[in-house]
Every structure is written in structure tokens, then in C-alpha cells.
């Protein structure tokens, strides 16, 4: 069964450093989501792509976070500089067309610890 791939699975960094996460969605899925999940909370959407275009980045802290999906396939989420409060699980998900009644398929996540 096709899966969403994410790397790395774990990342430890010091504050003020730059970090990057990679996501490869299920083949053929037009919509890609990046979520942040703080321990003990549910996922919160950071950015949503439809093909290569951003359709929602209202919760993305744009002073330090950036995301791209240049060819409409895989995607990279970057944080520069990282802050202590960025420690969280970063989840990538994909769906076929972005309709809310579609299933979102999640990757295993990248757990970030900022020291």
C-alpha cells in the first residue's frame, strides 16, 4: 500500500540553527499538508498545497518558516532560525484533490527537539 514518506524521523538542533524536513506524498495526490503537533495536542495545519501552489498558509509563522513544493510532488518545510518553542512533531499528509470529505493520509512524522 502506498504511503507518505517523511525524513528525517528525528531531528535535534540548537536554537538559531536552520532545519529542514522533507515529505513525499502518495503518488497522484494533488494536495499536500504540513501540520505541527505539540505534545498533548491535536495537529494544527501550517500550510496546504494544491499541486505547486499554496492555498492556505494562514497559520505558518512566515518570519521563520517556509515551505515549497516546486514540481507539485515532494515538499520541503524549513525553519530558520529554530526556536525552543518549535519543538514538536511535524506531520505531512496528502489527499487526492483536497476536498474535505477525502481521507488524508499521514506520514510517520518528524519529531523535532530544539535545545
Amino acid at each position: 500500500e502506498a504511503e507518505v514518506a517523511q525524513s528525517p524521523r528525528y531531528k535535534i538542533t540548537e536554537k538559531s540553527q536552520a532545519v529542514a524536513f522533507w515529505c513525499d506524498p502518495i503518488s497522484g495526490h494533488a494536495t499536500l499538508y504540513w501540520y505541527r503537533q505539540i505534545l498533548g495536542q491535536g495537529p494544527e495545519l501550517l500550510v496546504q498545497f494544491q499541486d505547486e501552489s499554496v492555498v492556505d498558509d494562514s497559520q505558518l509563522p512566515k518570519d521563520r518558516f517556509s515551505a515549497e513544493r516546486l514540481k507539485g510532488v515532494d515538499s520541503t518545510l524549513k525553519i530558520q532560525p529554530a526556536e525552543l518553542g518549535d519543538s514538536a512533531m511535524y506531520l505531512c499528509a496528502s489527499s487526492l484533490a483536497g476536498l474535505t470529505q477525502e481521507t488524508q493520509y499521514f506520514g510517520p512524522g518528524t519529531r523535532l527537539l530544539v535545545l
Binding site: 495536542q41 491535536g42 494544527e44 495545519l45 470529505q101 488524508q104 506520514g107 512524522g109
Partner: protein
Amino acid sequence: SQQGEEDPQALSIQEGENATMNCSYKTSINNLQWYRQNSGRGLVHLILIRSNEREKHSGRLRVTLDTSKKSSSLLITASRAADTASYFCATAPGADSWGKLQFGAGTQVVVTP
């Protein structure tokens, strides 16, 4: 901001018992979904119920939706140790088919053998 709130926050039961968790939300929805997350992993979709549906079944799962009370419940019957996970409700607000899912904080379920 998180639209849904799950109750209880944590639930501990024995194998074979039923587990019930509730989700309340604030605004009108297009649909409501339930996801499961095993410790340290990604989320897995369990079931979707549309705003015009009242009850839905999938295997050992039963979901109800009461739009007048803005609430939903997830029942897991005859629980197994493998059901140990966090369960999240996610709402798709608004009347149209587009729009981001908003997740609650989850219910942590522990099933002991």
C-alpha cells in the same frame, strides 16, 4: 485554534470492554472525521460522517453525530490491546467541500489485557 474538544482526555479500560469518547465543536460543519494515532506515529483515518448523517458503522466502530448539539461520539466495541492509541476528531467547518480540517486535542485510550 482547535475547534473540536474531546472528552474524556484519557480513558483506561480492559480488553473486551467498550470505549466511548465524545467530541464537541463550535461552528457548523460539512463533515466530521475520526483519526487514530499510535504513540509517536502519524494519524490513520478511521471514519467520516457527513453533516446530514446521524450514525455510521465500520467494523467495531460506531460514530454518531448530533448537529443540534454540535457533538459526536465514537464507540469502540470489544476493545483490544491494539486499540491503545490517541483518538482525534476533526471537523471540516462550513457548508462547502473545501476548507481545512480542525483537530481536537484527542482522547488517549489505554486498553489493558
